[in-house]
């Protein structure tokens, strides 16, 4: 059956409105589950409208594809661990990108086939289909280019996060040359495609070159900058979908794609601000000018005070307000559940407990919040950096666990530091700071942390989970 085009577009509009309400629901944890459902309902609407609208012929392909994709997606969504969310999101970004590139390619093949059958030029054929040929061809180019970059870049980001390959930045002058050649090649091929869209080989050459560009884009980016890469590729996957919308003159693709594109861009900006890096710096693997800072020996010598669990327990006994500052190291040590137990124990004794979350505390925006929510930490205890900094003077004990660079005062005090200007959780202003850490080894930025040598800091050396367990035992005994 063929739907009336107006009815079809109204139904697509309904789907787009559901997406908007879906994202609006995400503005509060209470409404978020319903928001996500509304988004899913929007997607279902769009799929059903598409299936009943067109004279579908290849039902085998359609049902097979829907079943296979849904099965794989559901399986992974159920199995994935919360620590693995960044990898998963990275991979899904790529899937969205390649799907858009394949759709644009399929549509181009269809146009070429149709034009040949009716002995028309491809431009005449596209025009007869009610499309603007220039728009259609340019949008096809954009889908192939952005979709290809998104796919290979995302797969590489996935491999780095999953530690299938080293997470270290890979920089080599040869890579820059190769990247330049691929970019120039992609532009050349895109121009050829624009002039000869009937030669489909140009399209696939463009996709292949884009795959290379995507690889070269992500190779020089190191582990600490991965959040920026994921958010940026998230944005690209949306833009690729919007471009495909311009290929098909399909409004719901354009609206949904631009929503995702905007979302990814906003989060990219949030991440860059939280690291005080410009997007260009992140993308080209440029670290800030590194001054010759004080060595770790100068900073730490004779000033670091180690404390036993019993001594720390005595601190907590007299505390009225405790702030926990977690970093990715806490998740890596799987310590979030015991940290929650410690917080519950303190609360049962009338201590006020909050968590201070730095925007780049996890491997993607909001990752730490998800990890703590999984450990049953109530979301209203999760406070943003600015909020906890404002009341830091009233905190009796700060427990830093698995965090390092995000609490390094050099960022604020030493203008020559590689992380100078990065906003930090200013734990030094609290009465006492307890840092749980294996050793004095540096974090991602590779610099010593004067916080560890501060007068009001006590170091509790050891594995995060074991240290917190010992602390709980000491508190219960005391």
């Amino acid at each position: 059956m063929d739907l009336d085009p107006n009815l079809r577009n109204v139904l697509y509009l309904a789907a787009a409105v559901l997406f908007m309400f879906g994202i609006k629901g995400l503005t509060h944890p209470r409404t978020a589950v319903r928001g996500n459902m509304l988004g899913a309902l929007g997607m279902l609407t769009a799929i059903v409208v598409t299936l009943i609208d067109k004279q579908m012929l290849g039902w085998g392909w359609i049902i097979g594809g829907l079943a296979l994709g849904s099965g794989v997606g559901a399986y992974v969504a159920i199995k994935i661990q919360m620590t693995g969310m960044p990898q998963l999101v990275a991979l899904y970004n790529g899937f969205g990108g390649i799907a858009s590139a394949l759709v644009a390619g399929a549509v181009l093949h269809g146009w070429i086939h149709g034009a040949a059958q009716d002995s028309l030029s491809i431009f005449e054929f596209i025009g007869r289909e009610g499309q603007n040929p220039t728009q259609a061809v340019v949008a096809t180019m954009a889908s192939g280019l952005i979709g290809g970059i998104t796919f290979s870049g995302s797969v590489l980001a996935f491999a780095k996060l999953q530690q299938l390959i080293s997470g270290n930045p890979i920089t080599n002058p040869l890579l820059k040359i190769a990247n330049g050649l691929c970019t120039v090649g992609a532009i050349g091929v895109a121009i050829m495609l624009f002039m000869h869209p009937e030669q489909v080989g140009w399209y696939w050459a463009l996709v292949v070159l884009s795959l290379f560009v995507g690889v070269f884009l992500v190779l020089p980016i190191g582990g600490a900058d991965m959040p920026v890469v994921i958010t940026l590729l998230n944005s690209y996957s949306g833009i690729a979908a919007a471009a495909t919308g311009f290929v098909l003159n399909n409004t719901v693709l354009i609206i949904a794609g631009s929503l995702v594109g905007a979302s990814g861009l906003i989060l990219t900006k949030v991440m860059c601000v939280a690291m005080n890096r410009s997007l260009t710096n992140v993308l080209f693997g440029v670290m800030a000018e590194v001054g010759v800072g004080p060595s770790s020996d100068e900073i730490y010598a004779g000033k670091v005070k180690a404390a036993s669990p019993d001594e720390v327990a005595m601190l907590f006994d007299t505390a009225r307000k405790v702030l926990i500052v977690p970093g990715y190291g806490m998740a890596a040590a799987q310590a979030q559940h015991v940290v929650r137990d410690l917080a519950s124990l303190l609360e049962s004794r009338g201590v006020e407990v909050e968590y201070g979350i730095h925007p780049v505390a996890g491997r993607m925006p909001g990752h730490m919040n998800v990890l703590l929510a999984e450990a049953d930490v109530p979301y209203d205890q999760l406070k943003e950096m600015d909020e906890v900094n404002a009341t830091m003077e009233q905190v009796d004990v700060v427990l830093v666990i698995g965090a390092n660079d995000t609490v390094n005062p050099s960022a604020q005090e030493d203008p020559t530091s590689p992380i100078a200007g990065m906003p930090i959780i200013d734990v030094g202003k609290a009465r006492t700071v307890v840092v749980v850490k294996r050793s004095l080894s540096p974090g991602f930025a590779g610099i010593p942390n004067p916080l560890f040598a501060a007068n009001n800091t006590l170091m509790m050396f050891g594995d995060g989970k074991k240290a917190v367990l010992e602390l709980i035992a000491a508190l219960k005994a005391g």
Binding site: H109, G245, P365, V370, Y379
Partner: protein, 93 residues
């Protein structure tokens, strides 16, 4: 007004609405926002279905089929994993 200009208008306005709505999402929910918007970018499944079902040539059908698979992994996986995360936030609070 030519159709292209109309579509461009829709695109630009949707970007602005997107910016307005998304800046209000709190950092606590940024990971679900990413996985959820990821699922929404699977909307390209609409184009994939049209290609897979067009019956033009076998090649077009196969390309459409592969695109449907990728996009549906994105859609179903994205919405389900987002639901899993959001349910953890809802449990208490």
């Amino acid at each position: 007004m030519e159709l292209f200009v109309l579509l461009l208008t829709i695109f630009v306005l949707a970007v602005f609405v997107g910016f307005e709505v998304i800046t209000k999402v709190p950092p606590t929910l940024h990971t679900p926002l990413m996985s959820g918007s990821n699922a929404i970018s699977g909307i390209t499944v609409v184009g994939a279905l049209i290609a897979a079902g067009s019956g033009q040539t076998t090649l077009v059908s196969i390309l459409g089929f592969i695109a449907v698979v990728f996009a549906m992994v994105n859609v179903v996986g994205g919405f389900m994993v987002t639901h899993r995360m959001l349910a953890m936030f809802r449990r208490k609070g």
